[in-house]
Symmetry: none
Subunit: 198 residues, 4 copies
DNA sequence: AATGAATGAGTTTTCATTCAT
DNA sequence: AATGAATGAAAACTCATTCAT
């Protein structure tokens, strides 16, 4: 009775599109892009298969949508972390976030990393580049924190930190051992603390 | 006409089996397990499609064969490295090997790591465990070197080193930047040198 | 605000209907009935897809509309030609009109002829008969000219002339050679001139 | 018991491929390329749908196969006609062949002509050119006969004759009147007889 | 009348696996 | 052991038509 007059159609459509994006992100994370069928995503989003194509013209567009959903979530996370006063604290918050996801990571890996690995095997479509772009978002944010700390080669440090995350996710996943995330997370926190800078 | 025919069947079969394993390793590395068809592997191995099933009863067995081919190669590498007198030198040799593969890694990632990531999304077949086992081989060897160096927590150190390798491979691949392998490789070498122990 | 709104609905509907008919004629000529989607026509007519069904209940009705649009255009042409005093001149005008369309014909064939050929393969819906009817309009008009010239078997002559047109259009189209229209057109003009009669 | 030792596989495969080509030619002639499904052709050839793709990788290849089947049949016809001593007699034989097919033509048009018209609406795939090539085969043969008769502009005469055939087929088809084929056939025979030359 | 969205049946295509020699 | 061929179950995608306002 309150917002009923807002454009119902646009709302519904938007909502469905969002549902599809989220379902795509989830299902693709769990099953991989190749093993995920449109029907899987449609089912997860509770949308009839035929209707999916009204919102996304091809399966690749849905995979791209999954990627931007991950980018969006990354944006939400960094936005929250940006409220912390110290860059070092922000980075530590990031790592704690990673460790907090250890069970999911040990089961399915990093959503963006595993997707990038899978898409990297293609030589058409350009989806691989889109996956790379999402990872670059993360790298960029991390680099900014290191720069703000006044450290030299913040780009390299970002590669090291994000690389460690990707590596520990992959190992935790391959060995199905969430504890790897904990141990490596602790090591990274200590490493951060040992770094000089503000 | 004398000894040439004796083990003809066995020999031929063995040779073909090997060709198929190697082809599987190569093609799966480049295309991913899911996007690789039996026909792709057969073509690469120059074996008629129908004949593949004489050697491997299912596609999964071929993927497993690709994994053991990677394990075999890892074995060859560590065997060679084991001839070095110092464990620290062996580890440095390992890292140099990784960096030497930077272009391949930047294009297709680590063969075992990307395969493990892909297979990790399955919940049937147990191939994921086999991928994990290959990675464990590497971890075990690395751990032995650290232990031989007399360092505490050699298992954790192995996770850190191998994790760094997986992470830098993934980033190099996702961003298509082989230099990442060089820079991170240099960092790892310096880290090794800075470690105490024999 | 006075008379502008009176027949607003009818007027608007009429205009849209006409736009749709014309778009259907054009697009179907270029793409063929089967390859043309309702959305194609809607887009060309700048009418929202859902709205098309207000004016035409089925796709077949739209194809029929394309046919009557062609009939209408034929009517305009013959009306204009009918102002010429001599039937022979009218027929020559007709041929000149065909030749004038040589580039379009070489690209897409005769609009009615190719549509008749396509619809002729159906055995339901009766659209094939409607296509035949449009061709009969042309044949009838041509026959009247020959009759007015006092020639025997004017119906057969009409078949010959219109058949020559359809044949040259098809060949020009199949070979993508507009010159065929010119050469055959010239031959037909000479043939007409050589015929006896007023 | 006679030819049993000929390579059974090759024979079977060849036979099936031929069956598919013939089925494609027939069904596409009757239904048009666009309205014909792979399943239609498979059914007509009594081949399981999935197996069709062993012989033809795409539907377009099947349509191309239909075209070359028509070319093959044209070759058989002209080969037979070439045994006639006089080029004029050969051409008359050609026309008689056309008239002999009047019922089929009145129902479905000229197989090659209608297919060319349909394919001419595409702008990708190059099938339109293949259709044109088949028509060129016919034009070339006809032109050779006119040339052998010592007539000037044999190419133009060929266009006129083949054009008349295509036109009369189209009209007979559009109006569903086989008699058109007869009347126009008779006219063409008379026209041929009236031409000078050997 | 108008319109974005929804629906579902149909079509092409792929491919692991099996079959028949 | 070897091999071309066969099979059938998916899967992506299309589109006429209908629906809900």
């Amino acid at each position: 009775m309150t917002d009923l007059r807002e454009p119902a159609r646009a709302r519904a459509s938007s909502a469905k599109r969002q549902r599809l994006m989220r379902a795509a992100a989830e299902v693709v994370h769990r099953q991989g892009a190749e093993r995920t069928t449109i029907a899987d995503i449609a089912r997860a989003a509770e949308v009839p298969v035929g209707n999916v194509y009204y919102y996304f013209k091809t399966k690749d567009e849905l995979v791209a949508a999954a990627l931007s959903e991950h980018a969006r979530r990354l944006g939400l996370l960094t936005e929250r972390l940006d409220r912390l006063p110290e860059p070092r604290e922000r980075l530590k918050g990031l790592i704690e976030g990673w460790v907090g996801q250890r069970d999911l990571a040990a089961r399915f890996g990093c959503p963006t990393g595993t997707l990038a690995a899978e898409l990297g095997k293609r030589d058409e479509g350009g989806l691989d580049a889109e996956a790379g772009a999402v990872i670059r978002l993360l790298l960029g944010w991390v680099e900014r924190q290191f720069r703000e700390m006044g450290l030299p080669d913040p780009g390299d440090l970002a590669i090291t930190l994000v690389g460690a995350y990707q590596g520990m996710s992959l190992l935790a996943n391959a060995l199905r051992e969430p504890q790897i995330m904990e141990r490596e997370g602790a090591r990274l926190l200590a490493w951060l603390d040992a770094l000089p800078g503000g």
